[in-house]
Subunit: 226 residues, 2 copies
C-alpha cells in the first residue's frame, strides 16, 4: 500500500526535524513545506534542505512570502534579539512573528488541498512554547475546525487532521524521541541570532532550551556554536 501523503512544516530547526521523522514513523509519505519569509538567518532554509534530503523526502516546497513588510518582530526586522532573558517570564517575547503559525498553516492547507492530503504536521509544543499564543492546543483545534470548513475536501466530508506530536513533550523528550528515530541533529539550526557562518549564538531562548535538553540527556548538542 502506498503511504498517504502528509504535509510537514519544516523550518530546519530541532522541533520540525523531529516532527518530520515522526510523520514518517506514523506511516505517512511526508511532503516538506518551508518558507522564505524574510528571516534574518537564511541558514535556516539551508538546514531545512539538508534535513529533508537526509530524511529522503520526495518533495520539498519552499514558498516565498514577504513578511518583512508587516514589521513587528525581531525575527524579521532590525529589533535586537533578547539574550539570556528569564525563560520562566510569562510574556509574549519580541521574537513573536504576528500570526505566523496561522499564515504557515493556511499555506500548508492550500498545499494539502492541491496534493489531496488530509494530514498536516506542525512541530509546535505547548510546554516550551515561550509564550507564543499560536502554539496552544486550543489554537490548533480551532485551525482544524477552520480547515474542515475552508476546503473542497472539507465540503466533501473529508476532515483535516493537524498533527502536533510534540505538543505535550518537553524539549528533553523531543530530543530523546528524535534520537530514537535516527534524526541527525547536527543538520538542524534553531538559533534566533546565528553568525554569518550559521553558527548558533548560545544565548537566545532557542539556543538555551536546546542545549539544556541535550545536556539533560548527557549529550552535547552537535550543532555548531560560536
Amino acid at each position: 500500500m502506498t503511504p498517504p501523503p502528509a504535509i510537514v512544516l519544516l523550518s530546519g530547526g530541532l522541533d520540525s526535524a523531529t516532527t518530520l521523522a515522526i510523520a514518517r514513523a506514523d506511516g505517512f509519505a511526508p511532503l516538506a513545506l518551508s518558507f522564505r519569509y524574510g528571516q534574518r538567518h537564511a541558514c535556516e532554509l539551508d538546514a531545512a534542505r539538508r534535513v529533508a534530503a537526509a530524511a529522503g523526502v520526495r518533495e520539498h516546497r519552499i514558498i516565498d512570502i514577504d513578511l518583512r513588510s508587516l514589521g513587528g518582530s525581531a525575527l524579521t526586522s532590525d529589533l535586537a534579539v533578547p539574550k539570556d532573558r528569564d525563560l520562566a517570564a510569562d510574556e509574549i517575547p519580541i521574537t513573536y512573528v504576528p500570526a505566523r503559525n496561522t499564515i504557515f498553516l493556511a499555506l500548508a492547507l492550500a498545499l494539502a488541498e492541491v496534493r489531496d492530503a488530509a494530514d498536516i504536521y506542525i512541530g509546535v509544543n505547548a510546554i516550551d512554547y515561550s509564550g507564543y499564543p499560536d502554539c496552544r492546543p486550543e489554537y490548533l483545534a480551532a485551525f482544524e475546525r477552520l480547515g474542515a470548513l475552508a476546503t473542497k475536501a472539507g465540503v466533501e466530508g473529508r476532515p483535516l487532521h493537524i498533527h502536533a506530536p510534540l505538543l505535550h513533550l518537553s524539549k528533553v523528550e523531543i530530543v530523546r524521541r528524535g534520537l530514537a528515530l535516527g534524526v541527525d541533529y547536527s543538520l538542524t539550526r534553531s538559533c534566533y541570532d546565528p553568525d554569518a557562518a550559521g553558527r548558533a549564538c548560545g544565548h537566545c531562548d532557542s539556543c538555551r532550551l536546546r542545549r539544556a535538553a541535550f545536556a539533560a540527556l548527557g549529550r552535547t548538542d552537535p550543532a555548531p556554536y560560536q
Copy 2:
C-alpha cells in the same frame, strides 16, 4: 475622536471596492491590504491602487506571496478559464484558489496585530459565491474564533471581528450600496481573463455576474470591456 483602524482586503474588484467604502461609512480608518500572488492579471493590482487612492486610504500594503508554486487553480496557472458556464451549477469552479481566503485572512490578521486593529473587512458574499467553500458564513465565524486564539490581542482579551458586509447581499444590492456610497466602479476590475490592456472578457463568471447587476439597475458597467 480618531477613527479606529480596520484592515480591508482589497483586490481591486467590485466587491472589495464596495467593502472599502462600507468600512469607511462604518466609521473606521481603513488600511488596505492587497496581494501579489501570481495572478495572471496584474491589472487587478493597478485597480486596487486606483481604488485605494480614490478612497483616500492612508496606507495600502501589498504583500508578495508566490501561490503559483502551489498549483491547482486557473487563476494562478495555465489552465483555461471557463467561459459562459452554467452559473447555477452546484460545483466548485476551476478558478478556485486553494485556501485563498484562509491565506489572505491570516495575513490580514498579522497586519491587524501589528497595527493594533481589532477589525478586518473582507468582501465575500454567500449568494454569488460561485461555489467557493471559504466564502461561507460558517467559515468566517470559524476564522473569527481562530483569530481570537491566535494573537496577542486575543490572549489579552480583545476579540477580533471579521466583517463581511456583503455576505448576504446579491450583486445587485452590492452595486446599489456602492453607488450610494460614491464608489467609482470604472476604477475596479473583476474579470478572470482580461486582455493585455486590462479590458474584461465579458464571459467569465465574474464578468457575467457583474454586468447583469448593473443591467438590473438600468445602468451600464463602466469598466472597460473587449
